[in-house]
Every structure is written in structure tokens, then in C-alpha cells.
């Protein structure tokens, strides 16, 4: 199959990939996790795992995509060998499973943007009732449909005219809005208390293993490392494009956005909250909705005496959140589309199929919050397994060969040293083993029926769904390998 399209420049590639990485996880998940893990005590391991997890895996994803020029299924066949295409299929499944409910969440952000822009959100007395009424009605279906339709339109236009063009508008606008909110937040009277908490380490819990594990999970979540999405965009990078510098820029750029969002939220909440600010940030509510859709709208209402000004800031916040979700959703749809293209299906047919499937499989999450929480849990933790599979593929290929021929090959500006071998060989596998073991042990301790696959959030439901898809993919491995790798020759 001949490569048709490429990102037009280094900056176009960086902005588009930054669109993947900067998602809703940077804006609301990050703040919640910081609050739950002692502020500054969390930030130190979070920075360490940026270096030990995010940067190496983003480099790996870029390199695999650029080398294989195929989606994860074909790429794993080429890198790890013909027996391991199923691992790529698992990565596709994880990203697709997230895509189904992420479209619903994107719809929520759009709904709240409209509500804030019209001024309605600032006139509501009980935001919890407003949220419950919205979530239990049919409106989430409509906004889920609108979100997937917008994304389908963008992906349908292709890489240069679709993804690149829209990312160039959406990502800088998102960053500009966030920066505007950041300036407003840090200039609020009382905001310094929030900033102080954000950076003050609690020396009693800094060595608590849970803080370190949460720091790793947050890095896996918000940088997009191990999702297969960056691997998919890397298919479209030019041969002369660099890997290591671009990957580092994206990882550090993503975490910089998290810091801006975190300081903004902590400053706003501490400045405007009349009750326990910390409790408000750390309580997540269903699917992390508590802070974002219930508490923050209340706070925006206290920004000034003018409903108009408050609505401007609230609508800017929800527009930023919508753009962040939209650019990430685009990459998930592109990943699923590219997978079908690798199987020999045309781009037009693939995108129509993916959009319809995304809408249909997203319906249960749009109608029932329990389904959404279950899927968020199962495929969210599945990302760690995806990261382990990527490290495994590189080990099979040969770490030294991978570093010398692929990462430091044609187009590389900055050469990666031998330290990379140690991280992929030892650090990434150790991180995964420790984290998954901790997760399993914790699951067993908080749920006596941890094995029951019909519980909403326990080890059983995740293991059951992972194992089910893995068995199917292993049985179909040869067929998938032939259809993707051999057809591409």
C-alpha cells in the first residue's frame, strides 16, 4: 500500500500529536489526583515518571509508527513478529473501548459550553440537580451524536486537510483559552493559598507507594503514552522527520499544560470556595463529574456580580474542555479507521463504519452511567498492559537495533543514548509489573467478590473483558497478520 498523505511540517505534526496528549485528563483528572495525593508530594514522582515512562514510550510509539507505516496490528506483526499481531489488536481494542464512551464525555462538554454561553448555567440554583436531570435524560444521546459527527467529518477530510488543519485551529485556541483562565485565576484574591497547597509536599506521605503509583498512572493517562494513538499519527510523519526531539517536546508540552490547568483549578477553588476547597477538588463524583460539571459551574457563578462576565469565563472553560476532548477523540477515530484501512477497506467506508459503530457502542454509556464507569475502569487500566506490550515488541525487535536503526535513523536531530535500552529493558516492565500487582492486590482487598465479572469496578470485570478479547485476537492472529502486513508488501 502506497503512503498517500503526510503531515506537512514538524510543527503540524507536533500540534496534531499535542492534540492527542492534551485531553480532559490534563484539566480535571490531574487536579483531582494532585488533591488526593498531597499536592507537592505527588508532583515530584509525577515529574520522575515523565522521564521514566512518558518520554521513552512516546519515543517508542513514534519510532514504531514511522518504521512500520501501519496501524498497531500490522506494526506489531512487523516489529515483534508474526505471532504477536494480537498484541497490536489489544492496543486497538483499548483505544476503541475508550473511544466509545469518550465521545459521550465530549458531548457533555459541548452541552455545558452551550449552557454556559447562553447564560443559563449561571442562573441555576442547584447544579447537582441540573447535572442529574441532564445525565438521566436523552440529551447525552444527541450530544454524543453531534460529537462523533463532527469528528467523523474532520477525519473524513484526511490527514492534511482534516486532522492537521483542524488541530492547527483547535489546539492553539485551547492553549490560549487555558492561558487566559490561568491569568484570571492567579490574580483572584486568595488564589495564593491554592498555589501554596499545589506545591507544598506533605513529607509524611511522600514515600507512600500509592502516591508514586498514582503519579505513574496519571502520566500514562494524560500523555497518551501506550495508547497506540501516537503510533498511528507517526504513520503519516515524513521520512526526514525527527523522533526523539519531537517526542520529548510533546511529553513536556503535555505536562506543562497539566501544570497550567492544575494551578488554574487550585487557585480558583481556593479563592472562591466557601467550604472545604480541598474536599471539593478531590471528590470525583460519578466518572469524575463532581468537580467539573457540578462544583466548577457554582464557582464560576461567584467570579463577579455580573452574569455576563461569569458566563464568559464559564463558557471559555467548557469550550477549552470540549476542544481538548475533541482533538483526543479525533485520534481515537483515526486509529480505528487506519486499522480498517490496513485490512484493505477504503478510507471513506472505514470512517462511516467506525462512526456508526462508535455511536451505537457509545449508546449504553450515554444512557447509563454505570456502563460508562465500567468501561472507563476496564480500558483505562488496560493502558498499562498496552504500554507493556509496546516494551515487549521492542525487546523482540532488539532494543539496540531499535535505537540505532529506527530512533536514531534517517531524519533524527538528537541521537538517543544507551540509557534508553535500560529504560525499555528494565524500568518499563518493572513499572508495569509493580503497578498491575498493586492494582490486583488492592482490588482483592476492597471487593470480596473481586473475581465477579459483573461488578462495576473490580479486578474480575477488567480481567474477564481483557481475557475475552485477547482469546479472540489470538485465534485470529494469523488472519490479521496476513491481511495487514502481507497485504502491505
Amino acid at each position: 500500500m502506497k503512503q498517500q498523505e503526510f503531515f506537512s511540517s514538524r510543527w503540524a505534526l507536533i500540534i496534531s500529536v499535542l492534540g492527542i496528549a492534551v485531553g480532559t485528563g490534563n484539566i480535571w483528572r490531574f487536579s483531582r489526583v494532585v488533591a488526593q495525593n498531597g499536592g507537592g508530594s505527588f508532583l515530584i514522582p509525577w515529574v520522575i515518571f515523565l522521564l521514566l515512562w512518558s518520554v521513552p514510550l512516546i519515543i517508542a510509539e513514534f519510532a514504531i509508527g514511522k518504521y512500520a507505516r501501519l496501524g498497531p496490528i500490522g506494526a506489531f506483526g512487523k516489529i515483534a513478529g508474526e505471532k504477536f499481531s494480537w498484541m497490536g489488536a489489544f492496543i486497538v481494542m483499548v483505544a476503541t473501548g475508550i473511544m466509545f464512551y469518550y465521545s459521550v464525555v465530549t458531548g457533555w462538554c459541548l452541552r455545558y459550553f452551550f449552557s454556559a454561553a447562553s447564560g443559563n448555567l449561571m442562573t441555576i440554583d442547584n447544579h447537582l440537580d441540573y447535572w442529574n436531570q441532564f445525565a438521566s435524560g436523552n440529551l447525552p444521546l444527541l450530544f454524543h451524536f453531534i460529537s462523533i459527527s463532527i469528528v467523523a467529518f474532520i477525519v473524513f477530510r484526511g490527514i492534511t486537510n482534516g486532522i492537521e488543519k483542524f488541530s492547527k485551529i483547535l489546539v492553539p485556541t485551547l492553549l490560549l483559552i487555558l492561558f487566559g483562565l490561568f491569568i484570571r485565576a492567579i490574580t483572584l484574591p486568595g488564589s495564593l493559598e491554592g498555589i501554596k497547597y499545589f506545591f507544598t509536599p506533605d513529607l509524611n506521605i511522600i514515600l507512600d507507594y500509592k502516591v508514586w503509583l498514582n503519579a505513574l498512572t496519571q502520566n500514562a493517562w494524560d500523555t497518551g503514552a501506550g495508547w497506540g494513538l501516537i503510533m498511528t499519527y507517526a504513520i503519516y510523519m515524513r521520512q526526514k522527520e525527527d523522533i526523539s526531539l519531537n517526542a520529548s517536546l510533546i511529553a513536556f508540552g503535555n505536562n506543562s499544560v497539566s501544570l497550567i490547568a492544575g494551578i488554574t483549578i487550585f487557585s480558583t477553588v481556593f479563592a472562591l470556595s466557601s467550604v472545604d476547597a480541598l474536599q471539593q477538588i478531590s471528590q470525583s463524583g460519578p466518572a469524575n463529574t463532581g468537580l467539573t460539571f457540578i462544583y466548577l459551574p457554582q464557582l464560576f457563578g461567584k467570579l463577579s456580580g455580573s452574569i455576563f462576565i461569569n458566563s464568559v469565563f464559564a463558557s471559555a472553560f467548557f469550550l477549552a474542555l470540549f476542544f481538548a476532548a475533541l482533538t483526543s477523540l479525533i485520534s481515537m477515530v483515526e486509529l480505528a479507521t487506519r486499522t480498517l484501512i490496513d485490512f484493505g477497506i477504503g478510507r471513506r467506508k472505514s470512517i462511516i463504519f467506525v462512526s456508526v459503530i462508535c455511536f451505537l457502542f457509545g449508546l449504553p454509556s450515554a444512557l447509563n452511567m454505570d456502563v460508562l464507569i465500567n468501561q472507563d475502569w476496564v480500558w483505562g487500566v488496560g493502558l498499562l498492559v498496552s504500554g507493556a506490550f509496546i516494551a515487549f515488541a521492542i525487546l523482540k525487535f532488539g532494543v539496540n537495533r531499535f535505537r540505532n536503526e529506527v530512533i536514531n535513523g534517517i531524519g533524527s536531530d538528537v541521537k538517543i543514548g544507551i540509557w534508553y535500552n535500560a529504560i525499555i529493558k528494565y524500568f518499563v516492565p518493572i513499572q508495569v509489573v509493580v503497578l498491575v500487582s498493586w492494582w490486583l492486590i488492592s482490588s482483592v482487598s476492597w471487593d470480596a467478590e473481586w473475581w465477579n465479572p459483573f461488578h462495576r469496578e473490580n479486578a474480575g470485570t477488567a480481567l474477564f473483558q481483557w481475557i475475552a478479547v485477547i482469546i479472540i485476537f489470538i485465534l485470529q492472529n494469523n488472519l490479521m497478520y496476513k491481511k495487514t502486513v502481507e497485504n502491505s508488501k
Partner: protein, 38 residues
Amino acid sequence: MKIETIITAFVVLTVVWGGLFCFIRKALFYEKKKSLNG
């Protein structure tokens, strides 16, 4: 403000924002070099 707050803020912001600034400068440098070399 406590000393550990200032140290943490300094370390975190220097590594993350400083790292970003450094990588942007490097990318600009290599882009300029490539455009000069045609």
C-alpha cells in the same frame, strides 16, 4: 511560604517548563539549520 514549597515549585517548574523551553529552542534550531541547508 515554607522553604519546601519554594523548592518543590522551583524543581517542578524548572524541569517541566524549562524542559519544554529547551526542546522548543532545539527544534527551532534544527528547523532553521534544515531550511538553510535546503
